[in-house]
């Protein structure tokens, strides 16, 4: 029940989804005293929407580990426990990422062989991907693990490839490492080492290094990096989308000729706007756990929350976690990897 806009947007997103998708059941976990009036003010379909009461929740400003130790009934823990016990199939949260990762670690556990979880996000691209011609690529990690080892980057590549196969139905996604040059020796030591390790792996289509400009171009299907760089890149793309929209609105208001020009380009502008609209992509999966965990953006409005739930349902249906587990089993073991 987190998120910058409070539980109202989460409740509205779930309510709208309950009206539109007959194949998804949503359980809202949180303080019913707070949630009930918000829900009653919405149109919703109660056959596909229920509540689970818990009075505790993790405030965004709190340290996640400390908060979860003190709040055993925190909503994120209850939600993860429900999934672990088979009462639900996936967790969606707009709350703090750290709390979601810790709660998932405690209740669901990591896939064997995965040392660190990775937050994966889709980024809009010029080129299309996979058999469905999706206008986006997968970028991971975007904030889960700030300091990585080479083995972590390899794990992220395997998980990203498995996710793209399961969710985007891309049978052989092209995977690359993000670096400051395409040459194998370019970049920090962990990237150089990961490059060598990935070259030896035959199960994934590793195409080498890509640079920042390749992300919006979409030259590959999965871009692998550490959580620090990934987060900076992701936020920059989001910011760019918002700035383009603001600039267009400003130009529209300032000069008649510009307005005329923009009106003539309006359908194209709308396409660009929808491509850059992060709310339409739903949430980002936190890969590496035995069940799907989807992190909705903290700034999510109802539409983004609903889309995050759709991503969660798709991840659960495609048995995405099991695909990752199978891919990890095929990964050659090295001495430095631990579970």
């Amino acid at each position: 029940m987190g998120g910058d806009h409070g539980p109202g947007e989460v409740v509205a997103g779930a309510a709208q989804l309950s009206l539109r998708r007959e194949d998804i059941q949503v359980v809202l976990v949180g303080d019913t005293e707070q949630l009930a009036p918000l829900l009653d003010a919405q149109s919703y379909e109660p056959r596909r929407l229920s509540l689970r009461h818990t009075p505790q929740w993790v405030a965004p400003q709190r340290r996640s580990r400390e908060a979860l130790d003190e709040l055993p009934e925190a909503s994120i823990l209850v939600a993860c426990r429900m999934v672990a016990e088979g009462q639900a199939d996936a967790v969606v949260t707009a709350g703090p990422t750290g709390a979601a990762i810790l709660a998932a670690e405690r209740c669901l556990g990591r896939v064997p062989g995965v040392r660190r979880a990775a937050l994966a996000a889709v980024t809009p691209t010029e080129l299309r991907h996979g058999p469905r011609q999706d206008p986006f690529a997968l970028l991971l990690d975007v904030g889960s693990t700030l300091h990585v080892r080479a083995e972590d980057l390899v794990t992220f590549a395997i998980m990203g490839s498995a996710y793209a196969t399961a969710i985007s139905e891309n049978p052989r996604p092209r995977v690359a490492l993000l670096s400051n040059g395409s040459e194998p020796h370019k970049g920090p030591s962990e990237v150089v080492e990961a490059h060598q390790l990935l070259l030896e792996m035959k199960d994934i289509e590793f195409v080498g290094n890509v640079e920042g400009l390749d992300i919006p171009r979409g030259t590959v299907d999965v871009v692998v990096t550490d959580g620090f760089v990934g987060n900076v890149v992701l936020k920059m793309i989001e910011g760019l989308g918002e700035v383009i929209t603001d600039l267009a609105a400003d130009a529209h208001a300032r000069k008649f000729l510009w307005r005329l020009g923009l009106n003539m380009l309006s359908s194209g502008m709308k396409e660009i706007q929808s491509l850059l609209d992060w709310e339409s992509y739903g949430g980002a999966p936190i890969l590496g756990f035995t069940q799907p965990v989807i992190k909705a953006h903290g700034r999510s409005h109802s539409r983004a929350v609903g889309n995050a739930c759709k991503v969660a349902a798709k991840a659960a249906r495609s048995d995405m976690a099991a695909s990752i587990e199978r891919a990890m089993r095929r990964m050659p073991r090295s001495g430095s990897q631990s579970g």
């Binding site: 059941q25 056959r47 229920s50 689970r52 009461h53």
Partner: protein, 354 residues
Amino acid sequence: MAQEVTRWRHAYRWDLDKTYLDTRFEKFGELLRIPFQGAEDKVNVPGSAALLRELTRAIDGQADSYVSIVSGSPRQLREVLEAKLRLDGVTWQEFHLKPQLKNLSKGRLRAVREQVGYKLPLMLRSRVALPATLRETLFGDDAEVDVLVYSLYADLLCGRSSGEELDALLKKVGASAAARQRCASDLASLEPSGSDREPVETIFIHLDSGSPPALFAPFGARVIPVFNYYQAALVLFARGHLDVQSVVRITAAFLKADRCGPWELANLFQDIARRGHLPTDAMETLAIGVQDDSAGNEAAEVVWNSAQRLLDLQGMVGPSPQPDPPPLDYPALLDHLKSSRRAARRARSKSESG
């Protein structure tokens, strides 16, 4: 009069379209199809027939239920609609249909759509002929202004609203002078119930148009918005109108015909309890009542699991809504309902086009 008092155990008043029957007339094509439909083409709102059958089921040593149906459908449909009710195994004492052809031929276009000036006089006239102590439960929907008509009717019977307020509202909706005069005279001839309990016990509003439940909060605890009649059955069990077996039979009807599985029914159960209309003690009684049947009887098992699931969890049963609504300003509420409906229609068409 003493004989009349024992003749009926409770009165149930039903609207027909969108309350009992799942009638669609939002599009022109749907409207055109209606006159050509036979009784077997008419579709029930899920659970409506099962619920009405259970409410009118004969009980040894008890008087019968009184059923009144007031519909805005034209009188020309009487034969088909009565055949439909008979097909459903439903019995009734009153069945009113609207003189739509007469309204059209006399150019009374407002009267074709208007519900307040049509239903209220009929209900008051019907009440005059019934024992003053008879209590009522009313069923309507959110497509028109049933909640307002029923609430005003309830307030008139218990004396919370006056003849002047009734007249002001009738004037606002354009009711004829004759209808206003009839209402005033029927209201004046009503006997006081002589009981502390209000004559209208519950008003169920079937959320056909997807209105948020909170829209009906200003009407007080007497009004209970329900998403379907499984929820109404649970409330009516809690209020002593239905026994455990009736609830199980209605549950079975939902499992069989109305696209509701155990999970969906459990969610509907939770929803009505969460909104404070199904107290814990009623849930316990229901759970105990179905416990013996729950092995091998899917419907009983669904009820048992739903009740048990809620009783096991903390904080899932909402507090009962405040019993006494504040005095209602009916003309203002009429405007509020109409503007909410317009806003909802706009939002729906925007969402459909987007």
